[in-house]
Structures are given as C-alpha cells and as structure tokens.
C-alpha cells in the first residue's frame, strides 16, 4: 500500500450541519459535527456524505430535520465524497493548562458542480446529514525535517488543508501554492478579500493569512491575473524547483488532472517524491463496487487498477498512468 496506515474502523454518523460559510463564488465550507470521525481523521482522508432524503420505502423517518431540510424533495441515492478539510473541537477547555479540546467537528470544502452539491450548500444550519468515514488511505507524512510543497488547483486545496496544519505541527518548512482560474475562485480567503464570517466558523477558518500565521509560505496564482501571480499554479512550482535546491523535499498535490500531470512531470524531473490525491466518480466508498478506479502502472510495466476509495485517494505520482 505505501500510504497511510492500514484501514481502520469506519463510522456512519448522523451529523448535524453546524455552520456554513461561503468562501468564493461557488465554494462553501460546511462544518459537520462528527465526534466519532473527526478525532481519528488523518490528512488526505475523506468522508462520503448522504444528503437528506426521504426513505425510499413507505416508512417515514421520525426525525423531522431529515424531512424539513429544504432539499427540494429530490432524493439522492448515492453519497458524495468530500475531503476532510479541517477538524476542530467545539467544547471549551476549562483552563489554560488543559490540552486542546478533542476534535468533534470536521469541515468539508464544497464546490458546486452539480445538483447534489448545489442542494448540499443550500441546506440550512441544523440539518441532519449522514456522514461515512474516515475513508481512504491519506497522505504519508515526510521524513523528519523535510520541506513540504503543497500544490492545489482550485477546490483541490480541500485535500491539503488538514495536511498543512499537521506539517506545521511537526515543524516541517511548508510552502503552499494555490491556483485558480480567477482571483475570485481561489478556494480560500485572502487578506484583501474576506467575506463576512457567519455561523460560528470565525475561529476555525483557514485563510491565506492564517496559513501564513501558521508559518506556511503561500503563493497564489490566478490564470486571469489580478493581485496575485497571473498564470498557472504549476509555474510557481516550476520556478520554486528551479531556484531552490533543497536536500529533502516532498510534494503533495490535488487538483485537475492536467495540473496533476504537470506537477508529476516537474517532480520527476527534479527527483522530488510526489503524492497526489485523485478524484473519480464514487459510490460506496468502502471498496465493494469498483466504481472509482484509476489506471496505474504496475512494477512489471503492465496496467492495473487502484480503487480510489480504499487504495487511494492518495497515490504516488510515479505509479499513476498519466497519459491516455
């Protein structure tokens, strides 16, 4: 396997939506109280979220929130996978000597791409969802002292948010390159563009500014320019790899396929081990249905498949078959 640790227990929690915040034109942070999943979630893992919908049989569920959800009555059959973007604790600690409150809440970053995500971001705070997780292998952390490069395209940042915090806790020098088509589509808040906070997420949100406060060096790119680098996020990575020569570097990337292919190519040229978090349409999340496969090159050179839900979503860039 190589990544993360061996698969552990998976929980299917009834999770209330406790906060929602819009972070860009089409991207929202949703905070879900998941006291079983949040404390054991590792960077790069994900959850499979069931939208509120009626049972398909004749029986009517008792919990009113399930019905009065404003989902428009369109029943969704299959869950939608989302990276665990961040976790935090909502309970106050009693004194300054207390350790950090146990994490009971996880945040997912949701970009509206279809009917399911559109309804999901429109749910009122208090709606009960069902959340399956933690799922997937997660990222392998770098060796002691190594520098970490995080490369995200758009909402791909969702896979790297939890990793950024973990890397800084372990005092790894960390760089984050985050790109989008336009400045407005960057999936994070920047100092210049901070929408009003809502729903109690104020102390939990990671903005570019807060990333910097964590000690992460942040490079932002927008293809259409603006007050950030005008071009592709992979240009930032290319320039960094050309200019810096560091002894121990590890790269972590998530985003569109073409971007990841370029990141993989750059990392191969500079002999930087690179892990990528991939996406594919998914159903069960548990490894039973074989929906979410991607092609990999096996050690003997032949083509094989990996299931992103259980063998992934994190793969070594070197094993992925990038060309089709």
């Amino acid at each position: 396997m190589g990544h993360g640790s061996s698969p552990g227990l998976v929980f299917d929690e009834a999770a209330p939506l406790i906060a929602r915040k819009q972070v860009s034109a089409d991207t929202f942070e949703l905070a879900l109280r998941c006291p079983r999943i949040a404390p054991v979630a590792r960077p790069g893992q994900f959850v499979n979220v069931m939208l509120p919908s009626p049972d398909f049989g004749y029986r009517v569920r008792d919990d009113a929130a399930w019905h009065d959800s404003g989902s428009g009555g369109r029943p969704f059959l299959i869950r939608r996978p989302f990276s665990i973007y961040r976790t935090y604790g909502t309970h106050e600690t009693r004194g300054t000597d207390e350790p950090e409150a146990p994490h009971d809440t996880l945040v997912v970053l949701v970009k509206v791409v279809g009917e399911g995500t559109r309804q999901l971001v429109g749910l009122p705070v208090g709606t009960g969802l069902k959340v399956l997780g933690p799922l997937g292998n997660g990222f392998r952390l770098p060796p002691h002292g190594a520098t970490a490069l995080l490369v995200a395209g758009g909402c791909g940042w969702a896979s790297l948010g939890l990793l950024a915090g973990e890397l800084r806790r372990r005092r790894h020098p960390t760089y984050a390159f985050i790109g989008a088509r336009t400045l407005e589509e960057l999936p994070i808040e920047t100092a210049e563009r901070r929408p009003a906070l809502a729903g109690g997420l104020a102390d939990a949100c990671v903005t570019a500014t807060e990333l910097e406060a964590l000690g992460v060096v942040v490079g932002l790119a927008a293809e259409q320019g603006g007050r950030v680098y005008g071009g592709l996020v992979t240009d930032l990575l290319a320039r960094f790899l050309e200019e810096k020569s560091l002894a121990a570097v590890r790269a972590y990337a998530c985003g569109p396929w073409a971007m990841l292919r370029r990141v993989a190519e750059l990392c191969r040229q500079h002999a930087v081990p690179c892990q990528v978090a991939l996406e594919e349409r998914m159903a069960c999340g548990m490894g039973v249905c074989n929906s979410c496969v991607v092609e990999v090159i096996l050690p003997d050179g032949s083509i094989g498949h990996k299931k992103l839900c259980t063998d992934g979503p994190v793969l070594d860039a070197a094993e992925v078959k990038w060309e089709y």
Binding site: D12, M50, G57, A283, M286, V288, C289
Partner: protein, 315 residues
C-alpha cells in the same frame, strides 16, 4: 429484531437466518464492509461474491456510475472487473472460512466452458455453499446478457455449470426480455436449483452539453428504487413459471425498506437481495429487518416463509 417472528428462510437447501441476500457486486469479496461499524455479514441471510471469471478482467472505462436525474436510479457499468478465479480462490476465499453468513459464489464468462471451469474452481472451496451463474451482465461485449436473452444459450451455460458441481446452482436472469418465463423454464430444465431475478435494466444517460453518454462504457445497467415495480413483475412472472417445478426465486431490485422486501416476498421471492442499498447505507440492513419483523408482527404472521408468493390477485 422483534421477538416472536421467524425471519429465517430455507433456500436451495440452505438455512438463511433472514431473507436479505447481498447482491453480487455490492458486497465485494465479503470482507470489505466488515470495517463499517454497525454492519456485519451476520446481518445478512447470505452474501453473493463479485462475479468471477476464468482470467483477470480490468473492466470498463470510467465514469462507471451515474445517478439518474430525477433521482432513485443508479446506472453502473463496471464490466466484471475481477482478479480471475485463481486469485479469488487463493487470496479471498480463505479469509471467508469463518464468514458470519452463507457465502455464495458468482461466475461469468465469454463462453460456456469458461463458466464451467470457473465454477468448478470456486465450488471446490468449502467456503462456497452455492454458485450463481451470471447470464445477465449488461456491460460486457461477449457473453453476459447475450446468454440471458436466449433460452438455448441460457440453458447451455447452466447445464455446463451443473455438470461440474453438486452444489446448488442459481441462474441470474436478465429483466431485459419480453418473456422471462421462457428463460426461467429453460434454466430449470438445464438443472438450475433457483433463479435470481433480476440483474439490472439496460440504460443510458446523456450529457446534454457534450452530447455524450455519462458512462464511460456508453451504456449501463439501472438499479435502485427506480426499477422496483419493474423487477417485482419479473419476479412474479418467474415465480409463476417456476413454482410447479418447486424452484425458488431470489428476488430483488431497488429494495430500500422492510416493506419493499415484503413486496418481493409476496410476489414470490423465497429470499430477496439488496444491492444499491448496500452502496448507499450498508448499516441500514438492521433497520430493514426491524421493519420487516414489525410488519409481520402487525399482521400476526409468525413466519416470513408463510408469505412467499402470497400475493392475492384481484378477480
């Protein structure tokens, strides 16, 4: 489970602790869902392993699934991805030696001889208590559905498998036929001990922006609540054709509640399979059993088996 109601059923000489059977392809190799808190194979009367072929298969291109607009349906086109029978026997079956429920194999192939050779290898394992013959996969170019829509071809495959094992043989039929009774009778004559009704309905979903199918393999098979009324009728028609021969039907299609399961029992299913439900919420199996037991208790029916084929038709 509420007390005083017997949900256990007899099926092809096996005693199932309840009528829920995990459909092939929705419970992997029988171990994956055990990681889920609140679920165990022990919640099921039986589970049917993923379709196994003689040689490894990589299956179809992605995307392999799409939820149908309007809801309640799921189209899939996996294409029988599996590591081949040798790897299944070597890597997966030994781990099922202490499986918490009855384990049934499932075989597929391009020609009848492949089915037989695969079934022979699977059935040699003491883990496998019966074998389902997939003559109804809509997502492969050779074999699959082509066997299931022709009575002679269906019979030839069933007979080939019948010839290599004494364990119960279950023919999994396709609903994509006008007269399912015709296929059912052919399979019974060829030695089938039971009939699974049904596999998915052939289906298509189109992206109106790109004018292309939403499935990588173009066409797929529809499952989920969308097909329940269609599958119920196929189960009933099969039951009518098979009851004289005393051959039971394993029926399902879109079961999401205890009431759904009872409908299939009443239509003639001796046991019923859940599939899409397991992909959505595997832990819901315990809820289904509770609902089913409550329904029986409310109707003062002591044994679920008493209701098999209990549909009362209007005059």
């Amino acid at each position: 489970m509420s007390s005083g109601v017997e949900l256990g059923v007899d099926f092809v000489g096996l005693r199932l602790r309840n009528p829920l059977v995990a459909a092939s392809g929705t419970c992997g190799w029988g171990e994956e869902l055990e990681r889920l808190e609140g679920f165990t194979g022990g919640l099921l009367g039986a589970l049917i392993l993923k379709s196994t072929t003689l040689e490894p298969r990589l299956g179809n291109p992605t995307p392999r699934i799409v939820e149908t607009a309007g809801g309640a349906g799921l189209i899939n086109s996996i294409g029988l991805e599996n590591p081949g029978v040798e790897a299944v026997v070597r890597d997966y079956l030994p781990r099922l030696a202490d499986a918490p429920t009855v384990v049934i194999g499932n075989v597929a192939g391009g020609v009848a001889d492949d089915y037989a050779a695969t079934a022979e290898r699977l059935c040699a394992s003491p883990v496998i208590q019966a074998v389902e013959v997939n003559i109804s996969c809509p997502n492969v170019k050779k074999g699959g559905l082509l066997f299931g829509i022709d009575p002679d071809a269906a019979a030839s495959v069933v007979a080939a498998v019948r010839g290599v094992t004494d364990k119960p043989v279950i023919a999994k039929l396709t609903p994509n036929v006008t007269d399912i009774a015709l296929i059912a009778r052919a399979c019974i004559e060829a030695g089938a001990n039971a009939l699974s009704v049904a596999n998915t309905f052939r289906a298509l979903a189109i992206d109106v922006r790109s004018h292309r199918p939403l499935i990588g393999g173009n066409f797929g098979g529809l499952s989920g609540p969308a097909i329940k009324p269609l599958a119920l009728l196929k189960v009933h028609e099969t039951y009518q054709a098979a009851r004289q021969a005393g051959v039971p039907v394993l029926g399902g299609g879109g079961i999401m509640s205890g009431a759904d399961a009872l409908e299939f029992i009443l239509a003639g299913a001796a046991a019923c399979f859940v599939g899409t439900l397991l992909l959505r919420e595997a832990a819901a199996c315990s809820r289904l059993l509770d609902e089913l037991a409550a329904l029986l208790a409310a109707q003062e029916v002591p044994r679920l088996g008493d209701l098999v084929g209990g549909l009362i038709l209007n005059r």
